[in-house]
Symmetry: C2
Subunit: 230 residues, 2 copies
């Protein structure tokens, strides 16, 4: 009986995976806003109503894709982090940043899905929050290791931001100096900004050597966060 249920569930998740794969392909062609269950069903060789057994609505399929994207990005970041565990914090930071960019270049439409314009009419459920924070956690880990080890050059923090930085620290970066927490949040947003510009075409005819450009910017951001130069 265990086997039976196991087989059934395996079949179920395999079909669900095929649906998501096709949906990811549609994402590239049509964008999240026009993702259509019918089109996915057609392509995957089912009839549209059959999809509703796997995803109760279009929005649920979207949610699954978003969670997968965050998890895939998070895994890429964590992998790079672990692979560079021997290095100094600044180099670990740069390795994670490079992995994030590598993932984004390899999955531009999933990047757009999670960091681009929100899908109108779609509200992300709570389930996305955990996966969404994996990359950030990874960066926090690097900074925490630096703090515990060689120490941080604390970035400046104006008086008006002190309370906010302390709140952030208590909320999700316990143990870090508040200056570093605030700088880290800003740095992460700025990193994604660089990737958005690259992926969304804003660097067209502006930045040519994007590898070097991004690597340098990421390294500067490491400095902003307080990681000591290598």
């Amino acid at each position: 009986m265990n086997t039976v249920r196991g087989a059934r569930e395996r079949a179920r998740t395999e079909v669900a995976a095929a649906i998501k794969d096709e949906a990811r392909r549609m994402l590239a062609a049509e964008g999240a806003a026009r993702l259509s269950l019918r089109a996915v069903a057609r392509e995957v060789g089912m009839v549209s109503s059959a999809l509703y057994r796997y995803f109760p609505s279009r929005d649920d399929l979207l949610t699954a894709l978003i969670i997968d994207a965050y998890d895939s990005l998070g895994a890429a970041a964590e992998g790079a982090d672990e692979a560079s565990g021997e290095l100094r914090p600044r180099e670990r930071w740069n390795a994670v940043c490079a992995a994030v960019r590598g993932w984004a270049l390899a999955h531009p439409h999933e990047f757009a899905l999670v960091y681009g314009s929100p899908v109108p009419g779609y509200a992300a459920p709570q389930d996305t929050v955990g996966p969404a924070s994996r990359v950030a956690e990874c960066l926090i880990g690097v900074v925490r290791a630096a703090h515990a080890g060689e120490g941080l050059d604390r970035p400046p923090l104006p008086a008006g931001l002190r309370a906010e930085a302390e709140r952030m620290t208590a909320d999700f970066a316990e143990g870090l100096p508040p200056e570093a927490t605030a700088a880290l949040v800003a740095a992460w947003a700025q990193l994604v900004g660089l990737l958005s510009f690259e992926l969304f075409g804003q660097f067209h005819r502006v930045v040519e050597d994007r590898d070097a450009f991004y690597a340098h910017a990421a390294d500067r951001l490491a400095g902003e966060v307080g990681l000591r130069a290598a």
Copy 2:
């Protein structure tokens, strides 16, 4: 006859403006990817085929909206720049950055239209390039003034980025130190990254005091570009 043509053209541009206004409203509700000529026509009290006299296709309407958005943002930035002409460069920079954020908060859907995920299947024509560069030009002007006046603290530039920075400078920032050009391009992308996170919901339950957070980040970026502290 001049009057006649004037009147005709005035009527034409007034209707076109009404169409664009309604389209902007739809942008908020449906997003650019699902902007529909028919829905706009319905709302504006015309029949869909009549719209084709004003915009030959859906994409042309989209292009008009994009150009308007860039122009509106550019005007906001230029206005803030002119209003702060007496101040020191670093303060001018901060004033322009604040104006950009003010515009973005006031026009989130137009911000998403130009800096969010690209609309699948839509390719921006050459006409958008000029308006798109107005904000950047404005920031370049501030840095140029600093360079000509009190001077810049040149940001560091790794050897691998030197040639690229010189090319950028020759292409669109003649006269600036290449270090500043490269830092400026990065800073602009990072600024937009901060705004994307704020507008697209990534700061939800993360950053609360967004005014202060952004102002501080913008000021740090001024330093990155080489503007001397106030």
